[in-house]
């Protein structure tokens, strides 16, 4: 299998909007061809600054990056010609939606015949056909956002930066766009995608970088992040019959000793006596132990279920952990701050 091609790599990239006041610092991430990299973080975490840095709209204050073989500082036009950018702020020209698309393609030097057919494709794909003759500012918020994405896809590119492209979109439109982006990524387009909607990052992104207070605090697949930072999950065990009180007390004691917190009331009727629910950060590793424990006591287990780890709980776990570990060293955005210690997954392998 051929080695994956790294199309973007940053090394300790940072941007200070004033001397010693950093919006992003020590960013070291990579992006492979055909990969979708998500940037997650709270408001002001540095996602938009990262996008603006990587698209040459802002000059790096420190560190560096190589994008499509170009040095970020000197790549200029040759580099930008291979990028696509949907910025967070809406932009438009004072012509119809359809003309906006073809005019933007013209700006990028797309031949007019190609532009026309691509405009039709985008109008169809982004469900903007009925609005083609309307001016963009007369569109609804969701339509305007779809228009922004559609317009950027009018030209060819190798890396597409999408800064919160799905804000204001309904679930159907969002899914449609995500599916399209996933297809484009499979065809070789690399995508950097920022969002606050964790579920869509989970659906779309191959890897996710979590930014917090201007630092990358984690970089991994969604599954990896959930496994590492998902935190306590709820486990429900249902036995074939009610547990005798001493047996139940023994089980509770064992679970508590293993760090679980019990959720089931002590005694609440026969059905409740057959169930036990608890939360544990090691939910999955407790399951084999539980099976053995029940087997040793000749107890039949009807059902065991573990709550699926969510990216949201992982995200909250990561932010909480970073806040606790970082203290002043992490420093809120805009404060002078020393680097945090290296974070697992924070560097491209």
């Amino acid at each position: 299998m051929p080695a994956r091609e790294l199309v973007l790599e940053t090394h300790d990239l940072g941007y200070a909007y004033r001397p010693d006041r950093y919006a992003i610092r020590h960013l070291s991430v990579g992006l492979y061809r055909g990969e979708v990299l998500g940037l997650l973080g709270r408001n002001g975490a540095g996602k938009t600054t990262t996008v603006r840095l990587l698209t040459t709209l802002l000059p790096p204050s420190e560190g560096g990056a190589t994008v499509l073989g170009h040095d970020l500082r000197s790549g200029g036009r040759a580099l930008r010609a291979r990028l696509g950018v949907v910025l967070q702020s809406e932009s438009l020209d004072f012509v119809s939606v359809e003309r906006n698309l073809t005019l933007y393609a013209f700006l990028w030097g797309v031949p007019s015949e190609v532009a026309k057919s691509r405009a039709e494709e985008m109008l169809e794909l982004f469900e903007l056909g009925p609005a083609r003759k309307r001016r963009p500012w007369a569109l609804s918020g969701g339509e305007r956002r779809r228009f922004q994405v559609a317009r950027e896809l009018m030209h060819d590119m190798e890396i597409l930066f999408l800064d919160e492209p799905t804000v204001g979109l309904d679930a159907i439109a969002r899914r449609r766009i995500l599916r399209y982006l996933k297809d484009r990524a499979r065809a070789g387009l690399s995508i950097v995608f920022t969002t606050h909607i964790l579920h869509e990052a989970d659906l779309l992104c191959d890897r996710i970088a979590v930014l917090h207070l201007g630092r990358a605090i984690a970089l991994d697949t969604a599954e990896g992040l959930k496994a590492k930072y998902g935190g306590a999950r709820e486990v429900l065990v249902v036995f074939a019959g009610p547990l005798p009180a001493p047996v139940r007390a023994e089980l509770v004691g064992e679970l508590v000793a293993r760090g679980a917190s019990i959720l089931t009331p002590e005694e609440d009727g026969e059905a409740a006596a057959a169930r036990i629910a608890f939360r544990s950060v090691d939910a999955e590793s407790l399951l084999p132990w539980l099976s053995q424990w029940a087997h040793a006591r000749h107890l039949d287990v009807d059902r065991m279920s573990v709550e699926a780890a969510s990216l949201e709980s992982a995200f909250l776990g990561m932010i909480g952990e970073a806040d606790t570990a970082g203290g002043d060293g992490g420093g809120p955005v805009g404060r002078s701050a020393e680097p945090l210690p290296p974070v697992p997954g924070g560097r491209v392998p």
Binding site: L57, R77, V85, L87, S91, L92, F94, F106, L107
Partner: protein, 257 residues
Amino acid sequence: MKLPPVLRLVVRNFASNLDPLTVVIRFGQPAVTIIVLGTMFSTIISSSVTGGSSYAAFLVPGMVAFQMITGGVVSGNLFWLDRRWSMVEQVFSGPFLRSEYLGGLVLTSLLFSLVGVGIMMVVGLPFTGLPALTPVGAAMVLLTVALGSVFFAGLLIAIGTRLRSANAYFSIQSFLQLFVIFLSTVYYPVTSKTPKVLALVFYANPLTYAANSIRDAFGGTLGAADLQGLGILALLALAAFTAAAVAFRSMDLGPIQ
């Protein structure tokens, strides 16, 4: 065939932001001024004040000179709207250099001004007859308007890079337009009766040099003073363009209101 980036930006400037109503008003206003104001005041203002010609014929070269403001304002406004609607940032994220974007604006301004010159001359024909324009005179008219439009475009763009409010920009732009037009020789000449302070202000105004030079070119009486005026205009244009270019380099691209 792919056009050079500057020309693509110029085409986009014309296609995107210049709706027909704007164009009609921009060219229509000075044309109507020639017809209405020229006709009305020709009966009031003596030809001795206007150098022997009717007031309408006096006004025509003034309105030709006025086109440099029209072009400058068009570019200044285009730039402001691009900033307001985040198109500056979007364009800069594409395969364009800041200098090309600035060049595109200035070229748009030039083209707009020169089209305006043609329209004003045609509208003014019934009042001026065929102007006694020599090839040098014609070149003088075009160069004067071109330099003037670069000056006003550069000035408004430089101002536009520093402001973050539409109200502030348009207030300054309106004030500047009014001030520059009425304190120049576009509408009336500087005569011996003009208060000295006001005359000084008139001669500090680039539009005065432009209007005087164009008037001389129309009358076939170009002289050293006109060349001097052209030189001043060239210096001012260079200064304004430099100011815009410097301001562009450090411009904040973030969203504005």
